[in-house]
Symmetry: C2
Subunit: 311 residues, 2 copies
């Protein structure tokens, strides 16, 4: 009986990881295609700027954030084209933040997704401007009728994205991360840092689907819980990869946090407890989805993937 | 008779320059106050980020762009509080662009508005993030119900600002400006560069008032003409200040364009023809306002001021 249950579990796991693989491939294709159209190079001296944006955004990355919009969108049968538009906007923000974070004055990284970073392939000034432009494009995409016909919904999406990416979200978390080099943050402070730095944008992906799905605020608690839990699990997995990962698979330099003397979930909890904590968070995240039945399959598969990935 | 006309002209000029002075003081106060509320420092490790944003945005600058929203808003009797909100958003974009343009990798400036630039007073990483955050705040402000109750109007404002600040506007112009160091641009290319780099945001200020004033697209031609003409006149005046200005009054390093070997209106036309051209543009700009009578007094005063200023 136990063996049968286990076998059924493994089969279900195989089916959902296959489903995730197909959905991820489709989304990666759709996002690349959308960036290709969005960033058509003009025949004037701005060409270099567009080349830099293309270098940063096309052909790489897990596209985890657009996939989260898609997975949460499945709960409300959202239109795929609208999901891709929102995914494209959030990816613009994600990519802009990577381009700026990689700059010499910030994390000073030479490699990203296995390719030279934008300031290495072009130059620092172009990298700053390319990031700034992707930042604008995110809002240009969300505000367009193509994303959603209802201006109220578009405003809700823009409000959520501006909050998630600005000083109360991602950029605020990045500032805390800079300060982490000069301070000994405790676990609650590291948790808050990561909730801002990576959690806020992950939260936006789920929130965006709820907004487009016309879910009333008071009915979003479970989804918020899912987003919070996978956001932290994602960061713990990142910290584990930073310690134990393979640079070739991850496509960027590793081990930098400990060199910089930054506290992370792993330095504070140790490898084993961090791994257990991530597992608990993923189970907790999936428990938040109990009302949604089969429609939440992709969200569950993403939760599992987040701590099993090698990059 | 001629003398009387001239005297009347001088008196009218005095009245409108007094009106401009009062409006500019009021707007400077309102914008400073709004930034002060917007950027209240949190009691956590993000404090440095807020301090940097406050350093960049409070207590300085001509606030010309908010004043333009106000002046164009006078045509349609727009609500002052809404005008200040839009002015605050556009000032967020303007200030963010100054913070990034001043970075060592870009124009490498130590002084702005007579104060150390943000990367000098803080550090480069903080300056990059402070710029990024002001960029987000611009959209956060525009999308709020406080700015306008109608989500359609808010979307129109956001669409116009994202276009004006991104690769098809200000940031695209800044890229052309970087390329200008390695190329010999001709007059049409320098004109296009400046229309993007400074003209697009000036255009947004006027467009924003037209959007909030429910002016149909086909009735905006004159306003677009005014914006285009004062945008170019503003840049010619800037190029003249770069050659002939007083660094103490301007509050930043001058003469940098000729050192960098960049073509400007002044290098291409010479000082005298550039001055005449700016004067022609200002007269042309005012001619676009003929339908608007007394309500356009502030717009006319700004056009005159733009080429008479010493900073």
């Amino acid at each position: 009986m136990l063996i049968e249950q286990e076998r059924a579990g493994v089969e279900a796991g195989n089916i959902s990881s296959a489903m995730l693989r197909v959905a991820a491939q489709e989304m990666a294709h759709d996002i690349d295609h959308a960036f290709d159209l969005l960033l058509e190079q003009p025949d004037d001296p701005r060409r270099r700027l567009y080349d830099a944006m293309r270098h940063a955004s096309i052909g790489g990355g897990k596209r985890l954030r657009p996939l989260l919009v898609k997975a949460a969108g499945d709960l409300f049968s959202l239109d795929h084209a609208q999901v891709v538009r929102v995914g494209l906007a959030v990816e613009c923000i994600h990519v802009y933040s990577l381009v700026h974070d990689d700059l010499p004055a910030m994390d000073d990284d030479d490699l990203r997704r296995g390719k030279p970073t934008v300031h290495k392939a072009f130059d620092e000034a172009t990298a700053i401007l390319a990031g700034d432009c992707l930042h604008d494009l995110a809002f240009e995409i969300l505000v367009s009728e193509e994303t959603h016909p209802d201006p109220f919904i578009r405003c809700e999406l823009i409000k959520a994205l501006a909050l998630a990416s600005g000083p109360a979200g991602m950029a605020g978390g990045q500032m805390m991360d800079l300060e982490a080099e000069n301070a000994q943050f405790d676990l609650p402070t590291v948790t808050r840092l990561q909730q801002l730095k990576t959690g806020a944008i992950i939260g936006f992906c789920i929130e965006a689907a709820a907004i487009m799905g016309h879910v009333p605020l008071e009915a979003r608690t479970g989804l918020h819980g899912y987003a919070r839990d996978i956001g932290l699990a994602f960061q713990i997995a990142d910290d584990l990869l930073d310690v134990e990962g393979d640079e070739a698979a991850v496509g960027k330099a590793l081990g930098k946090d400990s060199v910089a003397g930054k506290q992370t979930f792993v330095s504070l909890l140790g490898v084993e407890r961090a791994r257990q904590q991530a597992q608990v968070l993923v189970e907790q995240a999936k428990a938040h989805l109990h009302d949604h039945g089969e429609r939440a399959e992709l969200l569950r598969a993403i939760a599992d993937y987040i701590i099993e990935r090698d990059r």
